[in-house]
Every structure is written in structure tokens, then in C-alpha cells.
Amino acid sequence: MKRILLSIFGVLAVALALLAPAYAQTKGKVYYMVPTLLDEFQTGSVSALEMFLKQVGYEMQTLNADNKTDVQQSQMNDVIALKPAAIILAAVDFNALKPSIEAAMAAGIPVVEFDRQITSTPSAFTSVAGTVEIGYVAAAEVEKLLTSKYGSVKGKILQVLGDPGDPYTLDIQKGFEEKMAAFPDVRIISLPAMMWEASNAGTIVADQLLANPDIDLIFNHAAHLSVAAAASLEAAGKQPGDIFMLSSNGAPVGLDLIKKGWMQVEVEQPLYAQAAAVAMFMDKIVNKQEIKAGEYDVLGLKSTVTIEAWGPNIKIPGAAITMENIDNPAFWGNLQPPTDTVTSVP
């Protein structure tokens, strides 16, 4: 009995020690519903949003859904009861969260869609790079790479998706294949890395190198998958550059692979700008003021606000990172947060 009680107190003491409440005078508390923290982009989005929101006077609290839709729905219900100044939502599931968004908006809590666009119901603001557009940018880069090799766009592409249950990867695939359909001499083999797990991507690459030794290019839907893909290429005796590789999201590991020559292009999601845009408009969002359509300068990137059926939507262009521009500090993968302070849009 004594040992059980001691164990309970020990575990509780450790758990309590990890709770460090922050008290500060702010314009209000904003909740960020992050889909997962097992991904460098998402982890980066937490620190970027926190930093920019603090600059415009808001305190941010993050809740992690561990990629579980039901967990995020419960979190939304809990947060609605707390009546925060606003909710920033990066939805695990684009459709399943619709009722939760509607409930929050009905309760007078503005919901901001971050990174993952939900068009089926109105929200207060949307800040996205556009996942389909990432596919477009990737396709344009593939076009250049294959042309540099063959003089025309032809060859075999291995496309390593993320988890097939994640709309994020399906959207990138949609955009990529939509553009690549213009090139009938290109064959695309698409396989999913279940649960976005890196070693699954490594296994796919190892198998496909044997089944299709004439693969010209590998397109991984996340940079961390490229790490395992490069490891498989190395284990198969390939040298950097023997097979073109590109991936998306712009994580630090992707930039490192470009520097080492294993990868040629990383299609970055403009993480800092996406987060900064949310902070720039937060006063208007919280005070329910009109957000006007037009061009805005977000951390030096020309971004366009349009008024869509689902509300004001800012789209920030993603960029292709190559060896030529890799050191640009604007890329979040370089982990140099912008020194410029964000100010609220008047």
C-alpha cells in the first residue's frame, strides 16, 4: 500500500511539475488547434503563431489532436465553452470539423482556418498556402528536371504520398497529377507511406528501385519521408543526383538534403507568412470588423485576400527551394524567424 501511494504521489509530482501556467495581460486568449505535433511543419506553426500573436497582443494556447478527428472535435467543444477571443483551426479532417466550426461561430467565437482550407462552411478568416497549389508548383519543377535530363518531359516518377487518410496528401496528389496529365510520356507510380512514417517511405523506395529500376524522379509529400528515401537510395548504391528527388513542406531536413545533393527541389509552405497573416488580421477577426479584399504585404510576400463564399481568404504563394535560393532566411526551413515585427492591419 505504501509503495502504491508513493508511486502515485511520485507520478503526480512529475505531472504537476510539467504544468507551468503563464499569466499575462493580453488582448485575449486565442486557441490553436494543431492537428499533430509529430511533424516539423506543425511544430513550427505553433512557435510561429505564438510569436506573431504575442507581437499583436494575444496570448496563445495550443491543443494537439494527435491526428485524431474525434479528439479535435472534443477539443473544439471544450474550447467553445471557454469563450476565447478566437480559435485557430488546422483541421485534422476537412469535413468532420464543419459542425464544430459552425458551433463556434454561432457562439460568437471567430474561427480562423490555418493551413488547411475548409470551404464547406463560413469561417472568420482563412490563411493557406494551398495544398493543391503545392502540387502545381511541384509539377512545374518536375517538368524542368525531366526536361533537363531528356530534353522533353518524359520518364517514370515514384510519388510517395503521406497517409492516404489525410486529405492534405490527397490534395497535393490531385494538384500534381492534374498538371502532369499534360505529359503522356510520364508514368507516375503512387504509393502511400502509412501514417506518414518515414521507414514506410524507405521500404517503398527500396522495393520500387528493384521493380522499376528506371525511375527518374521521386516526389515525397513531406521532407521527413525524403530522409528515409535518401537512406534507401544510399543503401542501394545510388549517388546523390542519380535519381532526382523533390518533396514538399520546406522542413529543415529537406533543405539539408538539397545541400547534400540528394534532393533537387523542396516546395515550401510559407509557414512564417501564413502565421504572420493570421496575426496581422487578428484584431479585425476578434472585433468582427470587415476584412477588405486586395493585396497585402506579408513578411515581404505579396499575398492576396479574396472574399470567398467561406469568408475572407488569404493565399500566400509557396516557393520552390533549390540550391540557388536555399539560404534565403525567409524559408522557414532555415529556422531563422523573421526579425520584423508584425503589426495589425488598420
Binding site: M195, E197, S199, T203, D207, Q208, V227
Partner: protein, 331 residues
């Protein structure tokens, strides 16, 4: 049934996982384009290294009549610990030892120490405080993965020291050294289980813990040691995983637990404890890897691969159930 037919049937039943593996390899070789080639078979063995080693630890605990749900997270924590210390990019601090080769035993020791420590915590809570193994190891599954996230901050460690990565690149008889490490682990632990007192006692404990205690077997000590071993072996799997992917990500190894359970069950280990042998588990692991490779080569729509994978695993488990029914009829 005459004695020779009976012996033949019992031989097949005793080694059903291997026969299933053989059948699957023949069917896939005949039907899946590009499947039948030495490189693909080498890939199957290579891809099963991590899962195989992890399944050893899980099988030991299940044979002892308990459960360890923490092995996947332990592997991830060990991989991350090795990644942080020995990777030179991302969150890796790139520790360099002199001479270089010291990186191999030191990284392995770090991994095993991490895994052994988690295993010891599990074992002590389960054996000394008489807590449910399912609940304790479920908690460990969660908090250990949480620790991976806390340590890494969600970021990844990349570019593992070449001296350690060498095990994933260097090949012997067409197989990378990581695969040989997995095979050696199976040989060592199979020998321990069949030829040592520890192995025999573990099976007796799994069959009936009270009877084992009354027979004078030091049940508590053996069970704690088994949990420590399961943690240490899972950590070895994590070390191999870090080598295979040249680093570690916060979600590394996610989903491996379910495959490890499937491999253990297909391999003939009873979830009730007291029954099972490790060679069968290795056959189960290879079977899963063979199925996975076939799916990779079939060119199926991405959205249906998981369904097919699940159905094929279910078919394998059903065959195993059929085996038990046949064995009961033979008895």
C-alpha cells in the same frame, strides 16, 4: 490416420508460419510483376529487421503470460536518443568519439539503457505493485512517445554518423548488416528460449504462474527480467530503425506495434501465454513483410492498400486458427 501421416501433419502444423510464408512467396512470385528476384527477397528480409527484433521482445512477454504495449514507443525513444547524440543535422548534436568506431557500441549502449530502463519501470510496476500489464504498458506507450516529442520538440534528427549508418549500407551475402543483426537476434533468443533454464521457466510461468511459483521458480525475478529484456530488445529495434532511416523523426515507428502483434500471433504464440517459439515469430514477420512488399509492387490505388494489407493479415491469422483446431482434433 497412420503414424507417418500424423507426424507429417504435425510437422506442417508446427511450422505452419513457414509454410504460409513459402506459399505466399510462391503465389506473389507467380502473380506480382517484378516480385520474383533476389533483390526483392533481400528487401523483404531487410524491411523485416526492425519489426522482427521488436517482435522478439513482445513475444517473450506474451509467452510469459503478460503484455507489453510500450515496445513501439520504446523503439522510437531509443532511436531519438541515438539520433540526438549521433546525428549531425536537425536536432542532432553530432557527438564524435575517438576512435570513430566507438560510436557503434556507445550508441547501442545508450539505446539499450533507455529501453532497459523503461522495461524495468514496467516490470517493477507490474510485478511488485501487481498492476495490470495491459494498463501499465499502455501508459508507457503514451508517456514514452510523449517523451520522444518533448525531447525532440517535434523536430527530427538527421544524418546519422557514417560509422553507425555503415550497418545499413554494408552488405553481406546480399543482405545489409541490419538484417543479419535481426537474424542473429532470433538465433540467440531462440536458443535462450529452448536451451536455457530461463527460457523453460518463462514458458512454465506463462502456462501457469501459480504452479510455477509453487514449483520453486523465482517468478517475480524472471518476469521483471523479461520486461527489461523486452525493453532492451525494443531499443535494439529502435537503434536499427535509426540506422535504416539515417536519423529519427518524432513519429518514427508509429504503427509497428500492431504489426508486431500480428507477427507474434501468426508465428504461433498464444496470447494466453505459455505457448510459442521464436522461429515461428520470425516467419510471421517475414510473411508480413512479403505481403507489404507485394502491395508496394502491385500498383494498387493508395486508398485501398491498407484494406488489402489488413485482409491478408486476417487471412493469415485465420489460417493460424485453423491450425489450432486441427491440432485439437489430432490430440
Amino acid at each position: 490416420m497412420n503414424p507417418s501421416t500424423r507426424r507429417a501433419l504435425e510437422f506442417v502444423l508446427d511450422n505452419l508460419a513457414w509454410f504460409m510464408l513459402l506459399a505466399v512467396l510462391v503465389v506473389f512470385s507467380a502473380t506480382v510483376p517484378n516480385y520474383f528476384q533476389p533483390g526483392i527477397f533481400a528487401n523483404i528480409v531487410e524491411a523485416s529487421s526492425v519489426l522482427g527484433v521488436m517482435s522478439i521482445g513482445l513475444a517473450l512477454v506474451i509467452i510469459a503470460g503478460h503484455m507489453d504495449l510500450s515496445v513501439e514507443s520504446v523503439a522510437a525513444l531509443s532511436a531519438m536518443a541515438v539520433g540526438i547524440v549521433f546525428c549531425s543535422a536537425g536536432i542532432g548534436i553530432g557527438v564524435q568519439l575517438t576512435p570513430d568506431w566507438l560510436g557503434v557500441p556507445v550508441s547501442l549502449l545508450i539505446a539499450i539503457a533507455v529501453g532497459g530502463a523503461v522495461g524495468a519501470i514496467n516490470g517493477l510496476l507490474i510485478v511488485k505493485l501487481k498492476m495490470s500489464a495491459f494498463i501499465v504498458t499502455l501508459a508507457s506507450y503514451i508517456w514514452v512517445r510523449g517523451l520522444v516529442l518533448a525531447l525532440s520538440g517535434g523536430r527530427s534528427a538527421q544524418d546519422l554518423a557514417p560509422v553507425i549508418r555503415w550497418f545499413g549500407v554494408q552488405r553481406l551475402l546480399g543482405l545489409p548488416l541490419t538484417a543479419w543483426i535481426a537474424i542473429a537476434s532470433f538465433v540467440v533468443f531462440s536458443t535462450i528460449m529452448s536451451k536455457t533454464r530461463f527460457g523453460r521457466h518463462l514458458i512454465i510461468i506463462g502456462g501457469n504462474e501459480n504452479a510455477a511459483f509453487r514449483a520453486g521458480i523465482k517468478v517475480d525475478r524472471i518476469l521483471i527480467l523479461t520486461f527489461v529484456l523486452a525493453g532492451a530488445v525494443a531499443a535494439l529495434a529502435g537503434w536499427l530503425l535509426a540506422i535504416r532511416t539515417s536519423g529519427a523523426t518524432a513519429n518514427l515507428g508509429i504503427g509497428l506495434l500492431f504489426n508486431a502483434f500480428a507477427a507474434v500471433v501468426i508465428g504461433g504464440v498464444s496470447l494466453k501465454g505459455g505457448v510459442g517459439a521464436l522461429p515461428g515469430v520470425y516467419a510471421g514477420v517475414l510473411l508480413l513483410s512479403a505481403i507489404n512488399t507485394a502491395i508496394n509492387l502491385m500498383g494498387l490505388p493508395a486508398t485501398s492498400t491498407q484494406l488489402i494489407h489488413g485482409l491478408l493479415v486476417l487471412a493469415a491469422v485465420l489460417l493460424d486458427t485453423l491450425k489450432h483446431q486441427l491440432r485439437q482434433k489430432l490430440a
